[in-house]
């Protein structure tokens, strides 16, 4: 009997050690990264990357990895304008035609040459297949005409001033046509091939992705031998890995851990603005109280946005009166880092609007979608109460919130944070066009409308930017969206590397260097 139990136990032990032994090979790569002369960079994300199908994901953290393995046609250099990447030069031939010239001698990781056929294959796939998640951002492309091995034209459905913005973001990495057509998508997804400075090495899902330097890269040679992107969903575990030197950079540090990291030697916190602007969206039509511009102004003046940033976000946010923040085409910087707060004036405005005895409003907000969303709206509700506005707060789980959002069935106000992967004012202000605003803000200012509509297809880029700036001024006055603050992301960084976080939250790992 005893023997039987003993042998059962023995089998259990053997299985366990067997399992661990079979992973020994992997275990070598998984030992904590050695510091000092190491040529390996380790970055901890909160989620695993979702897929190598570059057209069928829309997560920034996935794209942040992809940018090291693939290339766009052009790079968005922010204030420096657009820079060549795979495309050597480009020209806007007419309103709907753009011609491009590719760099010669660019090779995919499998040795194939990059040609215009690859571009046609890539862009037409996402522009034509409406089941892909990125279809919405590329359907404006009508076709890609191949003129030669290294020359092609992109024809758009309508005049498309933001085409370069589209081509320098998620979904426009160029894929290897021949490899995918001969091997199939399944093979590509398991062993992806791009043109970037790093090539695929290994992906253990929900654990880590390892990429390694690609020796035939057409640009500057890769700086790291290997880069590991780990997936660590639990915030406190990610912070612990940073503190013990297990990872060099950790994303999404919770504000509550800020002081702990700052007081630890060898690690530091970096803040960087993001594209996400939090706001209250107000219904300007109908006969509700927020239809009165005075009430909307009073709401704006009653909320101390800076206090929310300081107390709830530990300073990780910037107040703003526009959604188009610096770094985006058409940003109105006069409205950035500006805020209005005057509760006394808010009370007067309410009196003027006929609500001297106070007023009741509904405010809906998702719970758990954005950083400290519940706490923020509760604080906002308390601030509004101070000036005599009673808020009926409706906190919803994201998918129920989203249901109402799609049905456009919110009451007076709702709290939301919009991102902008296009880095252009057009996407940011799209929902305020009259047609799009129906049932949501019902915003209707003919002057704003005409500015937004003409700017959308205006190929004179300077004039276009001015039109957007003017539109933002009008919107800031009319307040169909009451802007609160731009969220900042917090990175924990080991002192051995120097790293500058980017507005687009991408990790171009060659810009991260050993100190």
């Amino acid at each position: 009997m005893k023997k039987k139990i003993f042998s059962l136990l023995l089998i259990l032990i053997l299985i366990v050690t067997g399992c661990s032994n079979s992973d020994k090979e992997g275990a070598v790569g998984e030992a904590p990264v050695e510091k000092s002369d190491s040529k390996t960079l380790v970055i901890a994300n909160g989620t695993d990357l979702s897929s190598f199908d570059i057209h069928n994901h829309n997560t920034t953290s996935t794209e942040a990895v992809h940018v090291n393995m693939f290339n766009y046609l052009v790079k968005n250099g922010g204030e420096d304008g657009f820079l060549p990447d795979l495309a050597e030069s480009w020209e806007n031939v007419d309103d709907k035609t753009w011609s491009f010239k590719l760099k010669e001698g660019v090779k995919f990781h499998n040795g194939e040459d990059l040609t215009a056929d690859d571009v046609k294959f890539t862009l037409e796939r996402v522009a034509k297949d409406d089941t892909l998640l990125e279809y919405g951002s590329y359907k404006q492309i009508k076709e890609v005409v191949v003129l030669g091995d290294y020359e092609f034209q992109i024809i758009t459905e309508n005049p498309e001033p933001a085409l370069l913005n589209r081509l320098s973001r998620l979904g426009s990495s160029i894929l290897p046509k021949d490899y995918i057509e001969t091997e199939g998508w399944d093979v590509f997804l398991e062993a992806p091939v791009g043109t970037g400075p790093y090539k695929f090495k290994e992906w253990k899902k929900d654990d880590r992705l390892t990429i390694e330097a690609y020796e035939n890269y057409f640009g500057e040679p890769a700086k790291w031998e290997e880069v590991v992107f780990r997936s660590i969903p639990e915030d406190s575990t990610r912070v612990s890995e940073l503190l013990t030197g297990g990872v060099d950079i950790a994303v999404n540090i919770p504000p509550t851990d800020l002081k702990r990291i700052e007081s630890t030697e060898g690690v530091d916190i970096l803040k960087s603005p993001t594209q996400r602007v939090m706001m209250l969206v107000a219904r300007t039509g109908g006969d509700g109280p927020t239809a009165d511009p005075l009430v909307r102004e009073a709401i704006d003046l009653a909320i101390d946005k800076q206090a929310i940033v300081d107390s709830l976000l530990e300073g990780a946010g910037k107040v703003t009166r526009t959604r188009v923040t610096p770094g985006n085409v058409g940003a109105n910087e006069d409205l950035y880092e500006k805020t209005l707060y005057d509760p006394e004036r808010a009370k007067e405005l309410l009196k003027e609007a006929g609500y001297a005895d106070g007023l009741e409003l509904s405010l809906s907000s998702p719970n758990g979608r954005y950083l400290k969303d519940k706490e923020s709206v509760e604080l906002i509700a308390a601030m509004l109460q101070e000036v005599g506005i009673t808020v009926n707060l409706e906190l919803l789980e994201w998918s129920s919130f989203n249901q109402k959002y799609q049905e456009r069935s919110f009451g007076d106000l709702f709290y939301i944070g919009y991102g902008n992967s296009m880095f252009d004012a057009s996407l940011a202000l799209d929902r305020l066009k009259k047609e799009m605003a129906v049932g949501e803000t019902d915003y209707d200012n003919p002057e704003t409308e005409s500015l937004l509509v003409t700017a959308e297809s205006n190929m004179n880029l300077e004039e276009r930017a001015e039109q957007y700036k003017k539109a933002q001024e009008l919107i800031a006055e009319d307040r169909p969206q009451i802007y609160l603050y731009q969220l900042e992301s917090l990175y924990g960084v080991n002192d051995r590397v120097s790293f500058e976080p980017r507005l687009d939250e991408m990790f171009y790992v060659d810009n991260i260097t050993l100190k």
Binding site: V16, P32, T47, G419
Partner: protein, 304 residues
């Protein structure tokens, strides 16, 4: 063998019911399209994606399609990874098994000596200490225990790595986290089971024969006390699977539990369905195996 086959057949309606419940649950808890597309997506884009994913069909039609695919071994495709859901689930099994077995071993190593000791030294200070510890072990939430272990043994003293899956060292903290709760349960059970046996006539006979106490406890009592313990060990399989959800997330352990948590968060239906289906089979099988193990431990038990 006949008994085994009969029970295997009985699992079919159970599995069917499970597929139906899980199918309905993932659909009533929210719309995956809302999580897949950004806030700025237009109604048109949402609609075409919903159509492409087949969400516009009536629920019975969707369920029927799901079942008929299932019979052919097709669990559907993960939205998140754009690959076969069942393959994703299978890929994670070794990691979860590794953790589960290690936790079971931790539980056995802790609970058997402590359970016997506290029964033999009944009502002593040691007994009080052990049973008190067991209550505490059971009451401790595993995410808290995991985070504390990381803090003390990985961050402050740096004995073990913080997270991830690698060699044996990586296994220690998650196995303790997951094993503690089970050890607590088993300690209490072994104690009460031992106490019951120690009071029985054949033990008195053994003692009166002049057998050494150690022999009485180990050979006569413990062996008989093991039967209910094996039941509990088998029943703990479901606790174990439940525990991996939390433990794997805390330790970034790339197993089935973490896959399931992420899939639920993103309403990745195919993966949730495939994973729960597999877990159900796993729990049913382990209960069946427990039944068979009784025979091994006590030849008097016969199945007809």
């Amino acid at each position: 063998m006949k008994y085994f086959l009969q029970n295997l057949l009985k699992t079919i309606p159970v599995l069917l019911l499970i597929t139906l419940i899980v199918f309905l649950l993932v659909r009533v808890t929210g719309d995956p399209v809302s999580l897949m597309l950004p806030e700025t997506a237009t109604d048109e884009e949402r609609e075409s994606l919903r159509e492409a994913l087949g969400f516009n069909d009536p629920l019975p039609v969707q369920y029927f399609t799901y079942l008929s695919d299932l019979v052919r071994g097709d669990f559907g495709e993960s939205f998140r990874y754009n690959t076969d859901a069942f393959a994703l689930v299978l890929e994670r099994l070794p990691a979860t098994f590794e953790l589960a077995f290690a936790s079971m071993i931790v539980a056995i190593i802790i609970s058997i000596p402590l359970g016997i000791l506290s029964a033999v030294k009944r009502n002593s200070f040691l007994d009080l200490f052990i049973t008190g510890g067991a209550v505490l072990g059971k009451a401790m939430p595993s995410f808290w225990l995991g985070i504390m272990l990381i803090l003390f043994l990985a961050v402050n003293t740096q004995i073990f790595p913080v997270s991830g899956r690698g060699g044996l060292l990586y296994l220690v903290l998650p196995a303790i986290t997951l094993g503690t709760g089970i050890a607590a349960e088993m300690t209490r059970l072994i104690r009460s089971s031992m106490l019951e046996i120690l009071g029985q006539d054949f033990i008195r006979t053994a003692r009166s024969k002049g057998l050494k106490e150690a022999l009485v406890v180990n050979k006569h009592a413990f062996r008989n006390a093991l039967i209910p313990v094996v039941t509990i060990m088998a029943l703990q399989t479901s606790t174990l699977v439940g525990g991996t959800l939390i433990t794997e997330t805390v330790f970034a352990w790339p197993g089935l539990g973490q896959l399931l948590v992420q899939a639920v968060n993103l309403r990745d239906m195919a993966v949730v369905q495939a994973a729960t289906f597999l877990i159900a089979i796993f729990v049913i099988l382990s209960n069946l195996i427990a039944d068979l193990t009784y025979r091994l431990l006590d030849p008097r038990i016969k199945y007809d």
